[in-house]
Amino acid sequence: MRRIGIDVGGTNTDAVLLDGDKVVFAVKRPTTKDVTSGILDALKALRADPAARGPVDAVVIGTTHFINAVVQRRNLMKVAAIRIGMPASASLPPFCDWPQDLAEGVRGEIFMLEGGHDYDGRPIVPFDTAGMRAAARRIGDLGLRSVAVSSIFSPLDPSCEIAARDILQEICPDVAVTLSHDLGRIGLLERENAALLNAVLHDLAVETVAAFRKATAESGIDAPLFLTQNDGTVMQAETAIAFPVMSFASGATNSMRGAAHLSGLEDALVVDVGGTTSDIGQLRHGFPREANAVVEIGGVRTLFRMPDLLSIGLGGGSHIDPASAKVGPLSVGYRLTQDALVFGGEQLTATDIAVAAGLLDIGDRSRVASISKDMIAAALTDATRQLEENIDRMKTEAGDAPLIAVGGGAFLVPEKLAGVSQIIRVPFGDCANAVGAAIARVSGEADQVFRDLARDEAIAAALEIAERKAINAGADPGSLKTIEIEDMPIAYLPGNSLRVRVRVAGALNRIEASREVA
């Protein structure tokens, strides 16, 4: 199977072609303002190489486009929020903890209706379908085109959200609807926030996916298009239109997954050294360990599946303080090729130190010849100290662990680090994120509370739900593997209540994939 992986980063757009497990071709191009032409440039370079011609089975894109839109408050639409669960949870309406500027930009209208469920599946009160019909008519009258629906305990019983969608589709069929249970976990405000963020991105998702399709078509590639998700798995382009929030943290995840693939290691630490920051994470069974906590996106609390990463201000473009030899956290960023000494600029950067130390051979070496040996040693020692301290913070077990060093700034990682058994560098490591996109798998998740079941029965039931979801998303049933099982007994609930969260992932099913081309 031949797949193209593309990572659209802040500085570079990387593209790789994988034939089976092997990287055939890799290219880096500057990211452009319109994103599409950067992708097109990269794809054209790839198609120009004789080795990279021939049919392609899938194109997988990782992008930070949607999260940047939220952070920068660009291209967002006004939405309606429907909360089902009254009279419970009445005092904290949708948008109640959003940054004011963002809320004001996107808050269309709020509807709070009776309904929702208890943890044990009993309705709180019957769903107010008459109120829902009135809300749908009002949404149509206001001309709102995107709606987020949340209902209390919908991850356990989504029926109120589904009934709301049916009414919306009947009364205002052109409205895009996001249901919170499709996005998340227990935690009403955070799940609702995720649904709202998803709804405000609807137009941008439609446009972006169309632009990605256009770029691949223009480069002469006829293959199904996928986008990578936060957890290192893929979704079909159609699904990405419906769930743009699922791509929010895919960049860092892709580089970790790529590192796993390129090194053949499934359990290791990873450091991805870029131009501005180093991201440190931990691979478990080939996937990044996830943060088990609330994640803020543009100031909004959410509970997305995000990799547990530690980001520090250490990269190839980091400033070096001439007095103390401290590295970072300031960086020249995308201006590295203008501002660094070796490129004729005036700013002493980590890249200059690496060239002076003989670790790297780029730019004009004579421009860093006067840097003292003490300065070089002190700066490299500071980079080492930062890496050692933060790698140790990310470790979850005592003892030394292997570390895979990837990214364009990986030259800053020394050959030996305290707490690290072995430092692994891989070919194509500077395009690890695009490799991670190319190899991404299809996943399914279940997160539910089970009562009156033995622990293993509850886990088995959750596994079945997760597997069904993965297969529906295009996974080959024979290749499914369990990525994560977490069970959490719940205080004060009767019947041995157990909350079980399970995640499975499998290879892309080729038949499902090709059906998507049309």
Binding site: L92, I124, L188, N292, M394, Y492
Partner: protein
């Protein structure tokens, strides 16, 4: 009726209270975040809350004791609502045919630390600067008023779908816990409750005083240290006379539920000065005993607080996870909890540990008594 000095609680105070109450929650009681959101909204709508000293209460004043009862996980879906807690208090007034002078929280630790303020805003009466635990505990009988042998009934429970329940009489605090817990479970495992009303005299004799201001003070220290990038934990220990027990990284978390409680243990591997050593914490909703090399080095009712080493914010028994960098500290318990009768209710044996209570602060003359 004497004229009490009333102090208006500012929104800044409330932001600090949320941080401090989470620390005083000693791992349990749920996060005060949703209570904080309620209060931010109430303040934006013009509501204000006044704080009064327990010493300013008249002997025959009535004081409402409020709490939000239930599993914190349920509280993440059925969100805390200030009107519900106010309704539970009104039910007491209707049942007893009297008016409350003021309201107080049953426990200052965790999410309940903000409940009294939420009720007070709607009822337009002050909050008493006191509670019945000085921290958080898992059960209704683990309070200073139970230790004082005060009457455990009546208790009102309110559910927003229109179910209102009153437990009018029970033979003991334990029975009150059992009866009201059953009702709470039927209500969806979350209910707004107003516990047995107290007189001003009882609050003066048996309340744990000035705990609201303590929570605000602790939260303010931590937030200020975060702002200035100074050490919040050092500031906390100095201000509250606390003791650092251990600094390390969480390496193991085991949880189970038994009889409806979240029980388990956490292992922390030492770093810095504690490198090469290991601390184990046993919990039942709250942190109960800290063990070092098999020896109990701190135990309930001394407050065992697990804090994120850098931010100084609290880590709960439901949110603790592998890899977290934490500092475990002990704060001295209120004297009523460490009295011989207090230890029967909240000492290590009340949680099933065959240990004689020994305070971390024993060596320090005057502390913890």
């Amino acid at each position: 009726m004497n004229e009490p000095v009333l102090t208006e609680i500012t929104l800044e105070d409330i932001e600090s209270l949320a941080v401090g109450a989470w620390i005083l929650g000693t791992g349990g009681g749920g996060s005060p975040y949703l209570g904080l959101l309620n209060l931010r909204r109430l303040y934006a709508e013009g509501y204000r809350v006044q704080l009064m000293s327990p010493l300013d209460l008249d002997d025959d004043d009535r004081v409402a004791v409020v709490s939000n009862m239930g599993a914190p996980l349920i509280g993440q879906e059925r969100l805390a609502d200030s009107r519900n807690i106010a309704r539970a208090v009104e039910m007491q007034e209707e049942f007893g045919r009297f008016k409350f002078r003021a309201v107080m929280s049953v426990e200052i630790g965790g999410g309940n630390g903000t409940q009294a303020l939420m009720a007070a805003a709607h009822l337009n009466i002050p909050v008493v600067d006191a509670d019945c635990m000085g921290r958080a505990f898992p059960e209704a009988q683990m309070t200073s008023v139970a230790i004082g042998g005060l009457r455990p009934y009546p208790c009102t429970l309110y559910d927003p779908r229109g179910i209102e329940a009153i437990v009018t009489k029970v033979p003991s605090w334990k029975w009150m816990e059992r009866a009201s817990r059953k009702i709470c479970v039927e209500m969806g495992s979350i209910a707004s409750t107003s516990k047995a009303p107290r007189t001003g005299r009882e609050v003066k004799d048996w309340g744990i005083h000035f705990t609201t201001t303590a929570a605000i003070r602790i939260g303010r220290l931590v937030r200020e240290a975060n702002r200035l990038h100074t050490d919040p934990i050092a500031a906390l220990l100095e201000s509250e006379g606390g003791k650092r027990l251990f600094t390390g990284k969480v390496v193991d978390v085991a949880r189970r539920t038994t009889e409806g409680f979240l029980r388990g243990s956490v292992a922390i591997e030492g770093i810095d000065d504690d490198r090469g050593s290991r601390l184990e914490l046993s919990f039942q909703n709250e942190w109960i005993v800290a063990w070092r090399e098999g020896k109990a080095v701190a135990m309930s009712p001394d407050l065992i607080c697990v804090l994120e080493s850098v931010s100084g914010h609290a880590v709960g028994t439901e949110t603790v996870r592998y890899g977290q960098r934490v500092t475990v500290v002990a704060l001295p318990a209120p004297a009523v909890l460490t009295s011989p009768r207090g230890l029967e209710f909240v000492g290590p044996r009340a949680f099933g540990y065959d240990l004689d209570f020994r305070s971390v602060f024993e060596e320090r003359p005057g502390a913890g008594v």
